[in-house]
């Protein structure tokens, strides 16, 4: 059994896979609304317009998987990014591998805090949303359009990873 040890999610560690949506010094801060609002501006590189795509906003309600989490399927969106922001203020798990030919040896796991979103870059391999301990809602920004925009790869045998959580 090969174990994936999750790391804390940071902008730097996640850079090969996409963006971290959070407040903080990494994002441009604008003071708006007569000083009553801080705007952390443009916190993710949304990329949803290829081939006539439209931005779409949805709410996901994800239930936890049995522990330990076994990674047996990964997905990618070849036409677009996909952004998740947690609405339940609870940590959640992110499992990714870089875009390109899938390689189970390159899987990485991250624990996101309840105030961090992620935006998977176009083509980044990722596990579907992984609530921990209890159901978690996410606001999701992805692409609308009739084109097929999800590839899956199934892991078996020695490729299966177990997340140490």
């Amino acid at each position: 059994m090969i174990i994936l040890q999750p790391r804390p999610l940071t902008i730097e560690a996640f850079a090969p896979y996409g963006d971290v949506l959070e407040t903080g010094a990494a994002h441009e801060l604008r003071h708006i609304n007569y000083g009553n609002t801080d705007r952390y501006h443009d916190v993710a590189a949304l990329d949803v317009l290829a081939e006539g795509g439209q931005p779409l906003v949805s709410i996901f309600r994800s239930r936890p998987l049995p522990r330990p989490i076994a990674v047996t399927v990964m997905e990618r969106h070849p036409l677009s990014s996909q952004a998740f922001y947690p609405l339940s203020q609870h940590p959640y798990m992110v499992v990714v591998a870089e875009a390109g030919e899938f390689d189970a040896g390159k899987l990485q796991a991250f624990i996101a805090s309840g105030t961090q979103g992620v935006n998977y870059r176009k083509g980044t391999w990722h596990h579907y949303s992984l609530a921990l301990d209890k159901p978690c809602d996410f606001l999701v920004i992805d692409r609308g359009g009739p084109e097929k925009n999800c590839d899956e790869v199934f892991l078996d045998g020695a490729n299966i990873r177990t997340v140490n959580y």
Copy 2:
């Protein structure tokens, strides 16, 4: 002093102004991720692409105004919708008037719950984000682009409204 009495936010009551982003029967529910996720699909009519616009996601941190809230300025985005989803699970205030020539006599106030977002339709007059009692973060989906996309109108004298909260 003219008082605005806020109503609870519902999809029906808010229909003249835009969308309510929430889970529930009004939105298409898809069971995805091998049954582990409920997707409330396409919960708002994002309208951010006019004149070469790009979808933009930002985080707003809004501080409460002094109570009682006096409505002295309203804004509209002539080129795009603007969606807000609360991240702090606290109720917040929404003040709107229908698109078109501004009429203070048509102002309406709503209390949104901590699990309801709003999407102001293009041109809908709205107050900037109104946290109640304590600071509130919002995920905001609006339009990026160099064009001017905010008109303001200032209320004075008999046009000022005070929200009964």
